[in-house]
């Protein structure tokens, strides 16, 4: 199985799906699912087979190369799995909406282009696939029209700025070395001057930082995530945004190399990057607490969790980089899960995303609730979920390296996460079920299936973190970093080991024991939700759920400090540019009379100048 064939299946499948949609929608749906599952199977089959092939050499005389190594396989399998699950979820979510053929085309195209990005062995094909991804993502973000158009516009403008920065960097590389093949640049760049590498690093940091929504380039993300259709939000936040992380890893560890990266700017560059990561954790997670739109709340966490990855990778130690890379796949699993959960709730309640008007859904949508609970635990990073292991690696690396303040930023971010996600869970699923949702049904099977699969992944990787860590360890050693002592249930080391199976066994045994004691007590009689203590007062049926301003005392204290200053600054620039352009429009009215007047005025001023000073 060659890589060209893989991409042909991916891209060809996307267009074929569109054409099949013109014939029958049932055929289109099953074909889309088939294609996305086939990609998972093919990529899984390619595990551990390093490939490298130039498939076309006519483009500006540069060879276009496809290659597969552990790093690209790791990302490819994540992309394929999340892509397949979101397509399955879409089956009922998108049914009955308009432009469904187009929707499937774009979903598959985004997947295909992301696969193209991670399989590219040279920067030209990287850039081409990158742009396909950016534009198809734009079309999907604005799929819902209305406010989604503005969100999409914000995204594409920032994305273009990022791509331009990348293009400048690439052209500069080409001018210096005459090649854009990654494997050929890497050995040459070691001899470049530190200043030049720093220049390139800043350019590529902007390019990938915008895609990765790193502070201060994060402002496009919250509106884009909340306005996109939910299955695509899962892809967008889960893996598309993390293409920026892939870019970081590719540039700083594959092209530049870890030794030079750590020495950049006398060692200050990676330190600044780490601080950006820490800021990126704290501010967005606390802003998330203030949100009342379930998807926007998750979107802010998407920004915040990116901080952990940047922080881990920027440290440049094997522990930190392992943690950072592991956090990418963990984040993919739980944020995709949570967006799908919101999608299922949205689907059943006719598009309600407002956290203040839901409640008590646990009684009607139990599987969805379990998914939400597991996703929340993963995002918080409770032990026995995968999020814990990656965060543990990052914290440990920070503490042992002697960066307690960075560790403090990362840890306190976790507390912001707990507060905002408990609100998420409580306002949607717990509390009293409003009467108007009494007739709500469970989520359809095609929605439950991806939710269950993702939940299982979170738990599996939480108890046996060795499975993904083994792959990540190969990646990290290929970066020239030290190999870690990894076993199936954790990491052994002299400075503090992690053993998840012990934790799992302890929790299981103790939980079982407590449960038995609980069972031994007198059986509790089930109560309806109206039968609660209200000091003798009658209980209102419609709204007896404490949701609005859930953390009001805290909001009062911190909200003055939690303005998104960066977004305000960009908006200020945008309004300024708009005003300027409006001003110019008064000059270029499109009315011929005005232009004639301008010509006459210009000529007469020339004549005036000649008469007065006689220059000519």
């Amino acid at each position: 199985m060659s890589l060209e064939l893989l991409l042909i299946i991916a891209f060809g499948g996307a267009f074929l799906t569109y054409l099949l949609g013109k014939i029958s929608s049932g055929l289109r749906d099953s074909f889309a699912v088939f294609i996305s599952l086939a990609l998972v199977a093919v990529i899984a089959f390619l595990y551990g087979k390093p490939l490298h092939k130039a498939f076309y050499s006519g483009f500006l005389g540069l060879p276009l190369v496809l290659r597969l190594n552990m790093l690209s396989w790791f990302f490819a399998i994540t992309i394929a799995v999340v892509g397949a699950l979101s397509i399955i979820f879409s089956l009922s979510y998108i049914k009955g909406r308009e432009r469904t053929d187009f929707y499937y085309l774009m979903m598959l195209l985004v997947n295909a282009s992301m696969l193209g990005i991670v399989l590219s062995g040279d920067l030209v094909s990287f850039y081409i696939f990158w742009e396909i991804m950016s534009w198809s993502a734009f079309l999907l973000i604005s799929y819902n029209r209305g406010p989604a158009l503005a969100a999409g516009m914000k995204y594409i403008i920032m994305s273009i700025i990022g791509s331009t920065a990348m293009l400048v960097g690439m052209l500069s590389l080409y001018a210096s070395y005459g090649t854009l093949s990654i494997s050929e640049i890497a050995p040459q760049i070691a001899s470049a001057s530190p200043g030049y590498i720093l220049f390139l690093s800043v350019l590529f940091f902007v390019a990938f930082g915008i895609k990765n929504a790193v502070w201060p380039f994060h402002t496009w993300l919250p509106p884009a995530h909340s306005e996109a259709p939910s299955p695509f939000s899962a892809v967008l936040s889960g893996i598309l945004v993390r293409m920026g992380m892939y870019g970081f890893l590719l540039f700083f560890f594959v092209i530049v190399g870890s030794k030079i990266f750590l020495g950049l700017g006398r060692g200050s560059f990676h330190y600044i990057l780490a601080w950006i990561g820490a800021i990126n954790i704290v501010i967005p997670t606390f802003i998330a607490m203030l949100q009342n739109d379930s998807k926007r709340l998750l979107a802010w966490h998407g920004v915040g969790q990116g901080g952990y990855m940047v922080l881990g990778v920027a440290l440049g130690t094997s522990l930190g980089v392992t943690g950072g890379i592991f956090h990418i796949v963990n984040h993919t699993s739980y944020i995709a899960l949570l967006f799908l959960v919101v999608g299922a709730v949205e689907y059943r309640t006719n598009g309600i995303r407002d956290l203040n008007s839901l409640g008590g859904l646990i009684k009607r949508m139990p599987i969805t609730f379990i998914g939400a609970l597991i996703g929340v635990c993963g995002l918080i990073g409770l032990p026995l979920t995968n999020g814990f292991v990656s965060k543990w690696l990052i914290y440990k690396s920070l503490i042992l390296q002697g960066h307690p303040f960075l560790a403090f930023g990362a840890l306190i971010g976790t507390w912001g996460t707990i507060l905002s996600l408990y609100k998420f869970l409580h306002n949607m699923f717990l509390g009293q079920l409003p009467e108007r949702y009494n007739g709500i049904k469970k989520a359809p099977v095609s929605m439950q299936f991806p939710i269950i699969i993702l939940s299982l992944i979170i738990i599996l990787f939480g108890i046996f973190p060795g499975i993904p860590l083994k792959v990540i360890n190969c990646i990290v050693t290929s970066f020239g970093l030290q190999s870690l002592n990894i076993n199936i249930w954790g990491i052994g080391s002299e400075t503090g080991a992690l053993n998840t199976i012990n934790i799992f066994a302890a929790v299981l045994a103790v939980g079982l024991m407590v449960w038995l004691v609980f069972r031994a007590g007198r059986k509790a009689e089930p109560l309806p939700q109206e039968d609660t203590y209200a000091a003798g007062a009658a209980i209102p049926r419609e709204k007896y759920h404490y949701t609005v301003d859930f953390y009001k005392p805290l909001y009062r204290m911190i909200s003055p400090y939690l303005r998104d200053v960066i977004d305000e600054f960009y908006s200020w620039i945008a309004t300024g540019v708009k005003g300027l352009c409006n001003g110019i429009r008064h000059v270029y009215t499109g009315d011929v009379g005005y232009y004639v007047m301008y010509i006459i005025l210009f000529l007469s001023s020339l004549i005036f100048v000649q008469i007065m000073w006689g220059i000519w």
């Binding site: 646990i362 032990p383 307690p404 408990y422 409580h426 717990l430 934790i503 007590g521």
Partner: protein, 298 residues
């Protein structure tokens, strides 16, 4: 091997006994300070037995599972906590795991209470989480100071190093974090000036309002465990742990009674006042302490 199994059973059991003893003791001491006679020391045990035999109502399966999770989580933390020489799960992740496992207690109550569908519960939980955010800021700084100073994330190592170098509470770099921990201890334990979460006169004992019978018994036991955990962490990190359970217990007792004397005299904070207090002096002390640790390390 046999010793290992015994430790697994003995350490939660002793923790339970100590926690319940502290519950009874605190009621007695408070009563004496208020010039009342107070209930007998065994009152909590009598209460728990009585509650177990009483009728109770449940609001659903999460209502049951949450309280089980909460208690189980607290017991698991005890297994991670060095207690004299006992520490059954010493090599499974250290302080960072303890820090996260300590979440399970409040989280279980929060989930269970959430299904109770009573706004009093929600208000109580919202307060609990805000309060937790309040004390976590200084607590994290304190833990980081300890971990950075001893260059380890293992709590067993921290105890071991203190046995060579003396208590960290009286060593220069960790004096300030130690004081800060003592200042936030009542907030961690949910005692007097910080009992905003239950606040019976305001929100009908908050998360506990729907609990009766065995649920209330479980919640009381969980509270006993969390008393043990909060104080044991202080003893291990700052008072050098102990080589046997008896010394450990005496150290815990001294800390607890000192804390009670100070805090019995204060009226309850409002939640904002509590957070403001926690983010002011304890945080400042812990922050300065961490900087001192960093300077000494250089």
């Amino acid at each position: 091997m046999v010793m290992g199994v015994v430790e697994y059973i003995l350490s939660p059991l002793l923790a339970l006994i100590i926690g319940i003893f502290f519950l009874g003791l605190s009621r007695k001491i408070m009563a004496r300070i208020h010039w009342r006679y107070g209930p007998p020391l065994t009152q909590p045990i009598i209460d728990i037995i009585k509650l177990f035999s009483q009728k109770s109502g449940s609001h659903g399966s999460l209502f049951n599972l949450g309280i089980i999770l909460s208690l189980a989580g607290s017991i698991v933390v005890v297994l991670f906590m060095p207690f004299g020489q006992m520490c059954p799960l010493s090599s499974s992740g250290g302080l960072l795991v303890i820090l996260y496992m300590m979440l399970l207690g409040p989280l279980g109550i929060a989930l269970s209470g959430g299904e109770g569908a009573n706004p009093n519960i929600s208000i109580g939980i919202s307060r609990k989480l805000i309060l937790a955010l309040g004390y976590e800021v200084p607590l994290l700084l304190i833990l980081l100071a300890v971990m950075t100073h001893y260059e380890t994330i293992s709590i067993v190592e921290v105890v071991k190093k203190q046995q060579h170098a003396g208590w960290s509470f009286i060593s220069l770099p960790l004096l300030l974090p130690g004081i800060a921990y003592f200042l936030i201890l009542p907030a961690i334990l949910g005692l007097r000036p910080f009992e905003v979460v239950q606040a019976p006169q305001e929100i009908a004992s908050g998360p506990m309002v729907e609990y009766g019978g065995k649920f209330l018994a479980f919640a009381t036991i969980q509270h006993a465990f969390s008393l043990f955990i909060g104080i044991a962490l202080f003893v291990n990190l700052f008072l050098g742990g102990a080589s046997n359970p008896v010394t450990f217990f005496i150290k815990m007792l001294v800390v607890f009674i000192l804390g009670l004397f100070i805090n019995a005299a204060f009226p309850r904070f409002r939640i904002e006042q509590a957070v403001k207090y926690l983010w002011r002096w304890p945080t400042l002390l812990a922050f300065v302490g961490l900087i001192v640790v960093l300077i000494i390390r250089r």
